[in-house]
Symmetry: C2
DNA sequence: CTGAAAGCGCTTACAG
DNA sequence: CTGAAAGCGCTTACAG
């Protein structure tokens, strides 16, 4: 077996032309006569020749690949939000001829291990506080778009983000509006900026109406202990009857699924005796529960698509700086009711 | 601004060493004195130098990237199965230091447009019949693992697959065992080999007991018409009362969610008046419905992990050929009942 | 432990 | 329309 794969040189030689010509036949960057084109193509087919993407990338300094830096979550799966986000990113990339390099590799601290990845730009999910990678990408000359806001704030970096403070505020406003004061908040993990922002917003909505916030109990997710649905399920089992809440805010619709199951088991009527609202809105989950979930639409897919679009723009003109904050939308369905 | 990014040459020059030395400092492939190492690292930091992955890949003919070829689905999202599969692939890749190149780009037919991708191997999801890509990867010398079986069968290609025939058989056996004969089968799209295989298996289970198969109604999903949950929902609305089924087989748990919702709206008691079984088992969906879904566990994540592991083996020894067929497991929960 | 030089497989001015 | 040659930024025998 001819173990080795044919290169442009092999084709050029066998076809009796220069490699520049073979290159042009494949890249179509300059016109080649039909005669020659056909001969080259035939030889290429014979030899099983295909242009080498890596070599091409090195020469033109372009890979047509976008990187997606995922937070390292050892063995937990992608959340619904992440999945939808990726969907959005993927569609836009695909539409524009880009592929996606999914990077879930853990960070190392050995400065010798960083490298300029084979990508034309990267989207980074959930940057950490003082994230050193942001500065690094700048040095590497690689366009970067964050999903989530930089912390501390930095006007020179591109990002898309939910307005999580506003999200919390709206939820609070809604719940207060229908009479709930005693609320169980099943929040995200405490080290996430979204957890902080949402709780702040929620508190603000109380403050705005001069209502003390101490009737709100906040729990935080710990992903090493159990999965999202389990988090919702157990939280209810462990607190119902002990804490006096009439409404629960679930961080995600998965969490809400668990809450609903616990409610069923404990024979708690939702929404009559307990209202439930989810802070994310998975199209195929939230609408298929009983009762259908009232939820906040974080537009995860839209967020991803926006990030991709900004990145694509920036890959063509690196001077561009865009920030985009998406307002959350409350989707009222059936899982909350007025407290009488 | 120094628009351009520093290269190994810049570092070598400024540090007064050869580029081979700089290379060795970063790759650690040959020992360099502490003195020199430190100087080089300092200069590198000064200059903001990071090794270029593409150049390195070209030189060593290795990218440490695995490709994942996804079926082109214009604008529909990833299915639960795909997501779990990807999760499995990702974890194994990550564990072994590989990143993942997600490729959802549509196929073209222009022979001039193919290229050897910047990957060390690829996992291909749902190969089509007579898929031309299989032969192409062979020519390119790129290790390939299929998820789903090659059609026509080919002993020289690696793949992992569910035993879909057996899956259909088991479901039939189970349903027959609890007295159901009149069945509505909400099958996958008709051009998928899984749809064919599962229906065959189901038919076999009837044949095995000498029961005619004509009491089974088979519908096929058409993704351009609606999403999965909608497929389940509408199918029930449109057929209940007109077709005499006592049990429905839903292609996925998403489809089953729609079926359950329709049942609720029509006031059909599940499982008393209608049994429901799903052909896939999303951990966080199937267990959170009411009633909890009886389902077939396709082990999507396991399948993905296996595919990745075989690929990783094959990338190190391309002569390896592994096939792995995973048996389906019936997970009996609450959504089916004996027909009295 | 370190250097000089060829090589990885392409592209692209430049010249004709 | 086509060719010769330099270049993209690394690595790796070979030699010392």
């Amino acid at each position: 077996m001819g173990q080795t794969v044919a290169t442009i040189d092999d084709v050029a030689k066998k076809a009796g032309v220069s490699k520049g010509t073979v290159s042009s036949v494949f890249s179509k960057k300059r016109p080649i006569s039909r005669q020659v084109t056909e001969r080259v193509l035939e030889v290429a087919k014979d030899l099983g020749y295909f242009p080498n993407h890596v070599a091409r990338s090195l020469a033109i300094k372009k890979t047509m690949i976008a990187g997606l830096k995922m937070p390292v979550s050892k063995d937990s799966n992608m959340s619904g939000f992440e999945i939808q986000m990726i969907n959005g990113v993927m569609k836009e990339c695909s539409r524009n001829g880009y592929r996606l390099l999914l990077d879930t590799l853990p960070e190392h601290d050995d400065p010798t291990q960083f490298s300029i990845d084979p990508v034309d730009g990267v989207i980074m999910l959930n940057p950490r506080k003082q994230d050193p990678r942001i500065e690094r990408y700048k040095q590497m000359g690689i366009p970067l778009v964050l999903v989530g806001r930089p912390d501390p704030m930095d006007d020179t970096v591109c990002y898309v983000d939910n307005n999580n403070r506003d999200l919390g505020f709206k939820v609070g406003e809604y719940l207060l509006g229908i009479g709930h004061r005693d609320i169980l908040f099943l929040n995200a993990a405490s080290d996430m900026t979204v957890a902080y922002d949402r709780e702040s917003g929620l508190a603000e909505s109380f403050a705005a109406q001069g209502i003390p916030f101490d009737t709100v109990q906040v729990l935080h997710y710990r992903q090493y202990r159990y999965n999202a649905a389990e988090y919702g399920y157990r939280s209810i089992l462990e607190t119902f009857g002990k804490l006096p809440y009439t409404a629960v805010i679930a961080d995600t619709d998965r969490v809400a699924l668990g809450v609903l199951r616990a409610a069923r088991e404990l024979n708690i009527d939702v929404p009559e005796r307990m209202s439930v609202i989810a802070l994310s809105n998975d199209a195929t989950v939230a609408q298929e529960t009983t009762p259908r979930l009232t939820a906040v639409d974080q537009s995860a897919e839209f967020l991803g698509a926006e990030a991709a679009n900004i990145l694509i723009e920036k890959m063509n003109d690196s001077s561009i700086v865009h920030q985009r904050v998406i307002e959350a939308k409350l989707v009222i369905r059936e899982s909350c009711s007025r407290l009488s």
